[in-house]
């Protein structure tokens, strides 16, 4: 089996389910992970960084796209006009 076949195999529904399983496991395990470097309240809340990661990702995409469409994005020949 070569590299390309492995990549084809990876794009299946099972892998997707596995990925969701890992996410659930990540949050679940956060309840028992020992905490030693507590800098602020977020470090005490189990699953805080999962939520943080997800919200950051959504915020970055939505806010940037909004900025882009309302202000920053131009046609590729914008400076030549």
């Amino acid at each position: 089996m070569n590299l390309i076949d492995i990549l084809e195999k990876l794009r299946t529904k099972t892998v997707k389910k596995l990925a969701y399983g890992i996410l659930v496991l990540l949050v679940a395990a956060d309840f028992i992970i020992p905490r030693h470097e507590i800098h602020f309240f977020g470090d005490k809340v189990p699953g805080f960084w999962s939520l943080f990661g997800f919200i950051s990702c959504v915020l970055i995409i939505v806010v940037s796209k909004w900025l882009g469409h309302h202000w920053l994005m131009r046609d590729e020949d914008y400076y030549d006009k």
Partner: protein
């Protein structure tokens, strides 16, 4: 090596690049490749053999120039620059253009020169060598847009260099000392002459570190550069500036603010970007933001983090540029909207690029994890939570783009049916070396920590920290796949602060061509004719009369006189040698008589 043979205590690694590089055009084919590789390896060993201390001090006019200031900080930067030199040289083996090789060699030599400089004049000299050699890496792409980008790149750097130079001059006038010293800038605005000097030097440095609003040259020039040129450029300019900032400006609080803004700014633009190499260029800005912020904090842990991050960053960012550069080299485009489905034809390049993406995203077991986390943790230690959260947010964005968006849209996404193949062997070899470093440093990080300027009391692989990172990254991945439709790339460019010079230049040219030209023609032209031209004509007429009547006639009379005398003399010129001899003897006798009689 060479230093041992000739028993020289200190061999400047730039010498191999700047002097040795001159001979590159003399070699052909395999010998050229071998020679270039040899130089880059010799330069690396020159750094290995550098003992700490001050070397290469020369008197120039009334100043002392110091070329070799070696301590832990300069040595670790010299290490990574020479390692990157070797990787970059291998990646560019196939390039036929000697000019391109020379410019990258001078560029590397310049950044090594800045790193080892002990005084501001030497630093400035190499600083300018870097700017003027790297611009050729843009120009050698030889397409009209890269010519324009190159000129803009040069303008930004010339202006930055001048600001730096004015800071250096003020510093010299204040202290009468040009040696590089610690000159942090406090506050937001200079208050006295000493802080003005620090302020200008800081501005000069942050232009090269691509700190907004002075950073627009980077995403403008890097994607316009040649395939191999961009790999070199991604490594040297900004990291040399980070080195200079650490040495001179560490602890300047303004840098914390600028760094965090920069880290997020790069991420925002990366969302909008369609050109893969420009997207990566914006991520250089984002990553250098971590370094600038850490430098602003200035604690030992923060500085260690910054240096480690610069070290790892050079390796993974160059790997990413090599991966996307290979795609550009093979397919002729780096636009995400035109690529897709390349996993069938370039799977190995994909794996190297993903390794780079995982390293920049600070995935556990990859190099970014052991370096970025140290910088961010330093902010946690000092309880500067807004910066801590800001940098955490930016790391989600980093994974979102370089770890997910770039690989997804190039190698998966919509299959465009592009005919492609893996790049030449040398490009692949360079990517393999880069990948080994990215994974190796993530696992065996102790040797890197030992090179850092201060003792390290930081352990990256604690359970909580690893878990924290994994949660952020994998939930970012969830967000990516849920919002994939929104991320589809659009054929656009994004306005940046170079809007001001670019549109400003347009406005200036319009002003010159339209109102200024007609004002000049209609009003100033008339006034000029009346006040200047007409009186001048009158004076000129008078001079002409003097010229023809007095000067010319005098000369013609003198000429006539000479002519008459010549005719008389002509009779003496018989053409016979004995007559001349006789006249000569007569002359000598006359002379003797005069000499005897006169006293």
């Amino acid at each position: 090596m060479i230093s041992e043979i000739f028993n020289i205590q200190f061999m400047h690694p730039s010498a191999y690049y700047i002097i040795g590089g001159l001979l590159i055009p003399l070699f052909k084919g395999r010998f050229k490749q071998g020679y270039m590789l040899l130089l880059s390896i010799l330069a690396f060993f020159a750094v290995v053999n550098m003992p700490h201390g001050v070397y290469g001090v020369y008197e120039f006019l009334s100043w002392e120039l110091t070329f070799g200031n070696v301590d832990k900080l300069s040595k670790v930067f010299a290490y990574i620059f020479t390692i990157m030199g070797v990787i970059g040289v291998i990646y560019s083996f196939h390039v036929k253009n000697d000019g391109e090789h020379l410019s990258s060699f001078y560029y590397i030599g310049g950044s090594l020169g800045v790193t080892l400089a002990g005084d501001f004049l030497t630093l400035f000299l190499f600083w300018e060598i870097m700017a003027f050699s790297s611009v050729f890496l843009v120009w050698y792409r030889k397409i009209p847009s890269s010519v324009d980008s190159g000129f803009r790149y040069l303008l930004w750097h010339v202006i930055g260099g001048l600001i730096l130079f004015s800071g250096i001059m003020i510093q010299y006038s204040v202290s009468d000392d040009l040696s590089i010293q610690y000159l942090p800038f406090h506050g937001w605005w200079p208050t006295d002459i000493q802080s003005l000097a620090s302020f200008l030097i800081l501005i000069g440095f942050i232009v090269n570190a691509a700190v907004p609003p002075f950073g627009a040259w980077l995403p403008d020039a890097y994607p316009a550069a040649t395939v191999t040129g961009a790999v070199f450029m991604s490594a040297f300019t900004t990291k040399t500036a980070v080195y200079a900032l650490i040495r001179v400006c560490a602890g300047s609080e303004i840098l914390i603010f600028l760094g965090v803004v920069m880290a997020i700014y790069g991420v925002v633009y990366a969302v909008l970007e369609n050109d893969a190499r420009r997207l990566l260029a914006y991520h250089i800005i984002s990553q250098v933001g971590y370094m600038v912020a850490g430098t602003g904090l200035g604690t030992q842990m923060a500085i260690n983090g910054v240096v480690a991050h610069a070290f790892c960053h050079i390796l993974y960012k160059s790997l990413l540029f090599m991966g996307t550069g290979s795609v550009l080299y093979v397919t002729g485009t780096a636009k995400l909207s035109e690529l897709g489905g390349l996993y069938k034809t370039m799977p190995r390049t994909m794996i190297y690029t993903i390794i780079g993406g995982l390293a920049i995203s600070a995935f556990p077991l990859f190099s970014g994890f052991v370096s970025k986390s140290m910088t961010v943790a330093a902010f946690g230690e000092e309880h500067i939570m807004w910066a801590f959260i800001g940098l955490m947010l930016a790391s989600a964005g980093t994974f979102l783009h370089t770890g997910l968006k770039v690989p997804y849209f190039i190698w998966f996404g919509k299959d465009q049916g592009i005919k492609a193949h893996e790049p030449p062997w040398n490009m692949e070899l360079a990517m393999i070396i880069g990948s080994i470093f990215c994974i190796g440093l993530g696992i065996f990080y102790k040797p890197l920590y030992a090179l850092l300027p201060y003792p390290v009391h930081f352990e990256p692989y604690t359970a909580y920290h690893t878990w924290e990172t994994l949660q952020i990254l994998l939930f970012t991945q969830l967000g990516f796949f849920l919002l994939l439709k929104k991320l589809w790339c659009e054929d656009t460019i994004s306005m940046d602060t170079d809007w001001f010079p670019r549109k400003g230049a347009k406005a200036f040219m319009w002003f010159v061509n339209k109102p200024l030209a007609s004002f000049e023609y209609n009003f100033i032209g008339e006034v000029y004719e009346f006040i200047v031209q007409k009186p001048i004509l009158r004076v000129a007429k008078w001079f002409k009369w003097i010229d023809t009547v007095i000067v010319d006639r005098t000369f013609s009379e003198i000429a006539n006189l000479t002519l008459r005398w010549s005719r008389i003399l002509q009779t003496i010129q018989s053409g016979q040698i004995q007559h001349y001899a006789m006249i000569m003897v007569a002359g000598v006798i006359t002379l003797i008589v005069i000499v005897i009689i006169l006293p």
